[in-house]
């Protein structure tokens, strides 16, 4: 019996190790297959956004908002090989993963026009980025669902939310954290109260 358990454990560990060793392409394929990822990628081409959002703008990962929907932010981005520089978010888009409600986009109040720094946390490899992105999208629907219900998360949910936040911090544009917070303060504060961790509240 013990041997069976050991074998199972070894199999699980091997699978984990294999997954950890996968290259960028593997994780890229996984994240691209995620329905929420695919849905978020189409917001800027939707009827409500197609004449407002430049294709060359950067797009943040989605943030859950009340009502079971998600918000993405669009920001001016300077990019050339080996370099990308974000500027504060200029437009927000709202979409629903589940319903047929149309996407909408609106310009945000004029923010400062200074640089918000690199669009990718420094030192993040291609594989680490896609792996974190895959983890983020894997946890995002559940995080949104729990937030929509204002639920008190179970221990398992807490672990999921912690993984989600780790993944978020691994790929979110570091200089845009205040914009992420302002996009849905309620979500970040709910996350803080639920798990003890969140992104910093920006100075007023």
């Amino acid at each position: 019996m013990r041997r069976i358990i050991d074998l199972r454990l070894a199999a699980v560990l091997s699978a984990g190790l294999l997954a950890a060793c996968k290259g960028a392409s593997y994780w890229q394929d996984r994240v691209q297959a995620d329905p929420l990822y695919q849905r978020a990628a189409k917001v800027r081409e939707s009827a409500g956004c197609a004449k407002l959002v430049p294709m060359e703008f950067g797009q943040t990962v989605p943030v859950p908002v009340k009502g079971g929907r998600f918000k993405v932010l669009f920001y001016p981005l300077t990019f050339s090989p080996g370099k990308s520089e974000a500027m504060p978010a200029a437009i927000e888009g709202i979409f629903s993963a589940a319903s047929d409600a149309p996407d909408s986009c609106a310009a945000l109040p004029k923010a400062s026009t200074g640089s918000a720094g690199p669009a990718v946390p420094p030192g993040t490899s291609q594989a680490a980025y896609y792996r974190a992105e895959e983890a983020l999208y894997a946890g995002l629907p559940k995080a949104g669902e729990l937030y929509a219900k204002d639920a008190v998360p179970s221990e398992a949910d807490k672990r999921l939310l912690a993984d989600y936040l780790d993944a978020f911090n691994a790929i979110a544009e570091p200089g845009l954290l205040p914009d992420y917070y302002r996009a849905e303060p309620g979500f970040w504060e709910w996350l803080r109260s639920a798990t003890g961790k969140s992104i910093p509240k920006p100075a007023a």
């Binding site: 394929d29 691209q32 959002v53 797009q59 981005l77 990718v120």
Partner: protein
């Protein structure tokens, strides 16, 4: 010295003027003399100085200023003090102006000494002769490329106190070309020769790498040509039907023989049925002009090597008669250029219009886009312009220029293939992170590139696409279908009118 600190300095000068007035009353607190005023002997005020750029100081009555200001001292004032000329001219008295000039001259001298020191250090560090000759060609290429970057960034940083107008991100909306202002040249001059040496060394190593790849490929083709003495005599007429400017016809319309020898330059290779080697130059070009257009190493050494490998693969396919090029990617390589600012869509449209014989300039097209509301133009960092073209406006400029076109969301590969067969080109959006294989790019950023052809095998399957990328100035980059599938956002602009070229 930063603008803020110089602003403070200026404020000090202004504050010092009333101090100087008090000095006239016998309570000296400053050595800066002030103007005549109430209670002071009523001598006529001397005319103030007027600063005109570039570098002229003269009295308001037209007399020349007795102290000569050097060009770089003027540039320093202009570059280091916000609205330097206007601020100087607005100083209330001649004495304040002279005091200001004295202080600024000292600061400019110090900054110039620092500049000279830094430039000497940079030139020493960026000597290509210092890169060991024993290194492999690849390693040398990497090191020389790094020196090139260091030279460029270093010299701009060192010259910063003198660069007027201030450095801004390049943008079509702001200015019409990416040339440096004439006032910058004296400060960048010392590194021109060294930059040339580095470029030459880099080019020599890159040529060596391309030649090595080419020679290895020739050997491979020769070997396989000898081996592949059977089974390659397949008819490809049907699957290669179509192809850009040659659309609508069969293979003969492509200008190719339906059968006959191909790869004649490959000694020992057996004739294969169809190859487009005579219709298009080989994927790894021998001539320098085509190599320059391809710009293999624009994204660095590894990316360049990967491109060479991909091109070698295509050339091998051609030699074996396994695939054929649809479209004219090598002819259209000359259309590529380096875009300025966030204008990839405008740049791709420029290429498409030029392919149709319209001599448009990207800056004019961008301006037209702004004027018509097609191009969203927003303030960027340090006064630069940012923005881009929204999806809903993507084909507007093409339509306005008489090209029947349509934007397609959620397109599939079949639609793209049909578009390339019909017109020889298309504009597609790719995610730049995967397309450039660049970890510094975020996901979810779209970049417009110009598809100029594709490689089709005898089953009719597309093995990959050829792309001109104005973001990196790379032309005829072959993207294997497996990579293309990952990076294409499934959005494209189809152009129905065939190019004229």
């Amino acid at each position: 010295m930063s603008r803020m600190r110089l602003g403070c300095l200026l404020a000090l000068v202004l504050v010092a003027v009333p101090g100087a007035l008090r000095a006239d009353d016998g309570k000296s607190v400053s050595s800066i003399p002030g103007p005549s005023g109430p209670g002071v002997d009523a001598e006529p005020s001397p005319p103030k100085l007027v600063f005109t750029y570039p570098c002229s100081f003269a009295y308001a009555d037209g007399k020349a200023y007795e102290e000569r200001m050097l060009d770089w001292q003027c540039d320093y004032i202009h570059a280091s003090v916000k609205n330097g000329k206007d601020t100087f001219n607005a100083l209330p008295t001649l004495a304040a102006q002279k005091a200001f000039l004295g202080i600024m001259r000292d600061n400019a001298d110090a900054a110039h000494d620092e500049y000279i020191k830094k430039i000497a250090e940079i030139l020493k560090a960026a000597d290509p002769a210092a890169v060991p000759k024993m290194l492999s060609t690849g390693e040398r290429t990497k090191r020389i490329a790094a020196l090139n970057v260091m030279l460029s960034t270093g010299v701009f940083a060192a010259a910063q106190p003198f660069l007027w107008p201030p450095r801004e991100a390049e943008s079509y909306v702001e200015k019409t070309a990416g040339t440096w202002p004439a006032s910058w040249h004296p400060y960048l001059q010392p590194i021109y020769a060294r930059a040339g040496e580095l470029q030459q060394a880099l080019k020599a190593d890159e040529i060596k790498l391309i030649d090595q790849a080419s020679a290895a490929l020739d050997a491979k083709i020769r070997m396989n040509g000898l081996r592949a003495n059977k089974g390659l005599d397949v008819s490809l007429d049907k699957v290669f039907d179509g192809g850009g400017t040659h659309a609508g016809g069969d293979v003969s319309a492509l200008g190719l023989a339906k059968s006959g020898p191909a790869g004649a330059s490959v000694a020992g290779a057996i004739p294969v049925t169809i190859s487009d080697l005579r219709a298009a130059p080989p994927p790894i070009p021998k001539d320098q002009a085509q190599r320059d257009q391809r710009n293999y190493f624009a994204r660095g050494y590894e990316a360049g090597i990967k491109r060479l490998q991909n091109d070698a693969q295509v050339e091998f396919w051609h030699a074996m008669g396994m695939t054929q090029t649809v479209g004219d990617p090598y002819g259209k390589a000359s259309l590529v250029f380096q875009q300025l600012g966030p204008a990839c869509a405008v740049a791709a449209e420029t290429e498409a219009l030029r392919a149709r014989g319209q001599n448009v300039k990207p800056e004019e097209l961008a301006r037209e886009g702004v004027d018509k509301g097609y191009f969203v133009d927003v303030p960027g960092v340090d006064g630069a312009r940012e923005g881009g073209t929204p999806w809903g406006r993507l084909d507007a400029l093409l339509t306005d220029h008489g090209v029947k076109s349509a934007s397609v969301v959620n397109a599939d590969a079949r639609q793209l293939d049909e578009a390339v067969r019909a017109s020889g080109d298309a504009i597609v959006y790719v995610t730049v992170k995967g397309f450039w294989e660049d970890p510094k790019q975020p996901d979810r950023v779209s970049h417009a590139v110009y598809v100029t052809g594709m490689e089709v095998d005898h089953n009719g399957s597309v093995r990959g696409y050829y792309v001109n990328d104005t973001g990196t100035n790379e032309a005829a980059r072959f993207i294997p279908a497996s990579l293309f599938k990952k990076v294409w956002t499934k959005n494209m602009v189809v152009m129905h009118d065939a190019p004229n070229n």
